[in-house]
C-alpha cells in the first residue's frame, strides 16, 4: 500500500489537533515503541543524550506526563492550562516508499494559556513517520523552539 504526500500532510494536521483537543490516548496510540519526543535546549543541537535537553522522553515518560495532567493533586494544573497550534502546511522532506518511512517539517506557532497569562512559541517540528500495518505512526518527533536558549517560565502542555 502506498502513501501520498497529502496523506502525510493530513496526518500531521490530525496529530496536532489531538493535542489541542486533549485527546491524549489517541495521540499516544500514534507512537511507535522506542520513539522519542525530543525538544532540544540548544539551537541546532545534535546530541539528545549527553547534554541537557528541554525534553527527551520515551513512551513511559510521555504517558506519565499525560497521566499527571488529570491528577487530583497536580497543583500546577489547578486551574488547567489550555493549548492551541496554528501550523503551516507541512513540508514532506523524505518519502521512502520502499521501507515506508517518511520525514516532514512543519513550521508552527504554539500558544499556551492559564488564568490571565498566555505565551507563544515559534516552533519547527520534524516528524519521522513510519507506515506500520497500513497505519501511519510516529517513529520520532523533534520540536525546535526558535528561541530555545531563552529563559522560559512553565511550559506545561505539549508544544
Amino acid at each position: 500500500m502506498s502513501v501520498s504526500r497529502d496523506q502525510l500532510i493530513d496526518f500531521i494536521y490530525e496529530e496536532v489537533r489531538m493535542l489541542d483537543e486533549g485527546r491524549y490516548d489517541e495521540w499516544l496510540a500514534l507512537w511507535l515503541k522506542g520513539g522519542h519526543y525530543w525538544m532540544p535546549l540548544d539551537y541546532k543541537q545534535t546530541d539528545p543524550i549527553n547534554v541537557t535537553s528541554l525534553m527527551y522522553e520515551d513512551l513511559f515518560m510521555l504517558k506519565l506526563r499525560v497521566e499527571r495532567l488529570t491528577g487530583a493533586r497536580t497543583f500546577s494544573q489547578k486551574p488547567k492550562s489550555r493549548c492551541h497550534h496554528v501550523i503551516q502546511r507541512p513540508f514532506v522532506d523524505e518519502m521512502n516508499e520502499a521501507d515506508g518511512t517518511f520525514v516532514t517539517t512543519t513550521f508552527m506557532h504554539y500558544v499556551e494559556t492559564r488564568l490571565d497569562e498566555q505565551f507563544l512559541l515559534a516552533l519547527t517540528a520534524r516528524h519521522e513517520i513510519a507506515l506500520v500495518d497500513g497505519k501511519l505512526r510516529i517513529a520520532n518527533k523533534r520540536v525546535d523552539i526558535l528561541n530555545c536558549d531563552a529563559a522560559f517560565r512553565n511550559i506545561q502542555l505539549l508544544p
Partner: protein
C-alpha cells in the same frame, strides 16, 4: 516596616530567629540593597573555567545585578571584568560566550583592552593630549572585580575591593565541591552543554531555601513522582527488573518523612549548608561498570570508597548557588528583581569518567529542572503562589521554625535532623551579616 537604606537596625529587625518578615521577599528597595551590600561583600559564583578553556575565551554573565565578563587572559588565568566600556559605558560583549582573541575592542569607538582589562589603545589618541584623561579611572581600562578565586575550576568573585577572604567565607563547605570534583578520576570537571534557563516570578531566596526544604517533595511532587511510581507498578514487571534510569531519579522524591529526617542536614557559618549528610535520594543510583576501578586506580581504594561513600543531596553556597555532587549539577539563582529570579542549571562531565554519568546528569537536569519538567512545574507553582500570597497583610511573618532552638549559634558547623529549617535560618543569619557588613561602617563615616 519603614525604609531600609542606611538603616541596619531595620534590616536586623527583619529576622527574628524563628521567622522572617515578608518584606525580604517583596520589597524592591531591599532587593536593591541586596545588590549593593550582600552581593558586593559576599563571594559569588561566576562560572566554570571550562566555559573559557582557551586564551581569549570569554563568558558574559552577571554577579548580582552587575554585568561582568569571565575571560581567559594571555597568562592563562581566568579574570573577571566589569562589562562596561570606560569611555561611554557600552557593554563590550553581549553574546553569552565567544573568543575575543588577544584583546577586547569596544564596538562603538574602538577603544581596545588587554584581556586583563588594561587599556591597550585609543584611536586618534592625540585628541586626548593635555586633556588630563590619564588622571581619570576611565583611562585605566575595563575594571576588574575586587577579587577572584578559581577553586578547583569553579570561579568565584567578590565585587568589593576588600572584605572577607574566600577561605573564611566558605570554610568547611568546600568539601562538597571537593567531593564533586574528586568523582572525576582526573580530578577535573568540564561543563556539558549550555544550562537550562528557567524564569521564576518570585524572590530568589525562596528558591535557595527550597534547596534544603525536605518536607515538600512528597507533597508538592506527588503528581509527578507519585504517578511515576504508580505507572511503574501497573506495568507489573517481573520480580527484580532493574528500575529504568528515569525511575531511579524520580521515585525517591516520594520517600517518607523518616527518610528525609535520617538524611541529616549540615550547616556551616556564613549561610552555607547541605542536606544528605548520611544518605540521600541520590544514594541508590545503579553503579556504572568500571567506574569504581578507575577511581581506585586514581585515588587508591580507601579514598575512592570515601568519595563514592558521600551522597550529599543539595549543598547551598550562600548566597545563590546549589550543587549536587553525585550528579555533578550546579544551579545558579540569579536575582533580577524582588519578584523575579532566573535559574540556570548546569551539568558537568567527569574528565576520564564514564559518559553514562553525564547522560544521567543530563536526564536529571531535564526531568527535574527544565521549564518543561513535570517536577519543576509544581515547584514554580509554589514559589509564585507564595510571592502573591505574601502580598497579604493578614500575616506579615514567614515561619522557618521547624526544629528551632533558642539562641542558635550559626558560627559553628552543626549536623541535625534532615527536616530542620535550620539551614534557612542559617541563611538569614548570613543575610543580615552581609547586608549590614559595610552599612555600619558607612554610618560611622557619616
Amino acid at each position: 516596616m519603614g525604609h531600609y537604606e542606611q538603616n541596619p537596625a531595620a534590616i536586623k529587625a527583619l529576622f527574628r530567629g524563628n521567622e522572617v518578615h515578608r518584606d525580604v521577599y517583596t520589597d524592591q528597595e531591599l532587593y536593591r540593597l541586596e545588590m549593593k551590600h550582600l552581593f558586593t561583600n559576599a563571594w559569588v559564583f561566576v562560572g566554570h573555567e571550562s566555559q573559557t578553556p582557551n586564551k581569549g575565551d570569554y563568558f558574559s554573565t552577571q554577579v548580582g545585578d552587575q554585568p561582568v565578563i569571565q575571560v581567559r587572559h594571555s597568562d592563562g588565568e581566568v579574570h573577571v571584568l566589569h562589562n562596561r566600556c570606560p569611555h561611554k559605558g557600552t557593554k563590550i560583549v553581549i553574546d553569552r560566550a565567544g573568543n575575543t582573541g588577544k584583546f577586547f575592542r569596544c564596538p562603538y569607538h574602538a577603544w581596545s583592552f588587554k584581556t586583563d582589562g588594561c587599556l591597550l589603545a585609543i584611536p586618534l589618541k592625540k585628541g586626548y593630549d593635555n586633556t588630563g584623561l590619564e588622571n581619570t579611572d576611565n583611562a585605566k581600562g575595563m575594571r576588574a572585580v575586587g577579587e577572584v578565586k578559581n577553586y578547583r575550576g569553579f570561579i568565584f568573585c567578590r565585587l568589593a575591593e576588600s572584605g572577607i577572604s574566600f577561605e573564611d567565607f566558605f570554610g568547611g563547605s568546600l568539601s562538597s565541591i571537593d567531593n564533586m570534583v574528586d568523582r572525576s578520576p582526573a580530578g577535573r570537571l568540564e561543563v556539558a552543554g549550555p544550562p537550562l534557563r528557567y524564569m521564576h516570578h518570585c524572590n530568589w531566596k525562596m528558591l535557595v531555601e527550597n534547596q534544603t526544604d525536605t518536607c515538600h517533595p512528597m507533597v508538592a511532587h506527588e503528581s509527578s513522582a507519585g504517578t511515576a511510581v504508580k505507572l511503574w507498578k501497573e506495568l507489573d514487571m517481573p520480580e527484580g527488573t532493574p528500575l529504568p534510569a528515569a525511575m531511579e531519579i524520580i521515585a525517591p522524591f516520594m520517600s517518607p518523612y523518616e527518610f528525609f529526617e535520617n538524611m541529616g542536614i549540615r550547616t556551616w557559618p556564613n549561610g552555607h549548608g547541605h542536606t544528605g549528610v548520611h544518605n540521600s535520594i541520590h544514594s541508590n543510583y545503579s553503579a556504572i561498570p568500571g567506574y569504581m576501578d578507575k577511581l581506585v586506580e586514581a585515588y587508591g581504594e580507601e579514598k575512592a570508597k570515601a568519595i563514592l561513600g558521600e551522597s550529599r543531596h543539595n549543598t547551598v553556597y550562600f548566597p545563590n548557588i546549589m550543587i549536587k555532587g553525585p550528579i555533578q549539577q550546579l544551579r545558579v539563582f540569579i536575582p533580577l528583581a524582588a519578584d523575579k529570579t532566573l535559574v540556570e542549571s548546569y551539568i558537568y562531565r567527569l574528565v576520564d569518567g564514564p559518559e553514562e554519568l553525564t547522560a544521567r546528569s543530563a536526564m536529571y537536569n531535564r526531568m527535574i529542572n527544565a521549564p518543561s519538567s513535570i517536577v519543576g512545574h509544581d515547584d514554580l507553582e509554589m514559589y509564585e503562589r507564595a510571592q502573591e500570597g505574601l502580598q497579604s497583610d493578614g500575616l506579615e511573618w514567614v515561619n522557618i521554625q521547624r526544629l528551632y532552638e533558642e539562641d542558635e549559634d550559626f558560627s559553628e558547623e552543626a549536623i541535625e535532623n534532615g527536616t530542620t529549617e535550620r539551614q534557612m535560618r542559617n541563611q538569614f543569619d548570613a543575610w543580615v551579616k552581609f547586608m549590614t557588613w559595610d552599612m555600619d561602617v558607612q554610618e560611622a563615616a557619616e
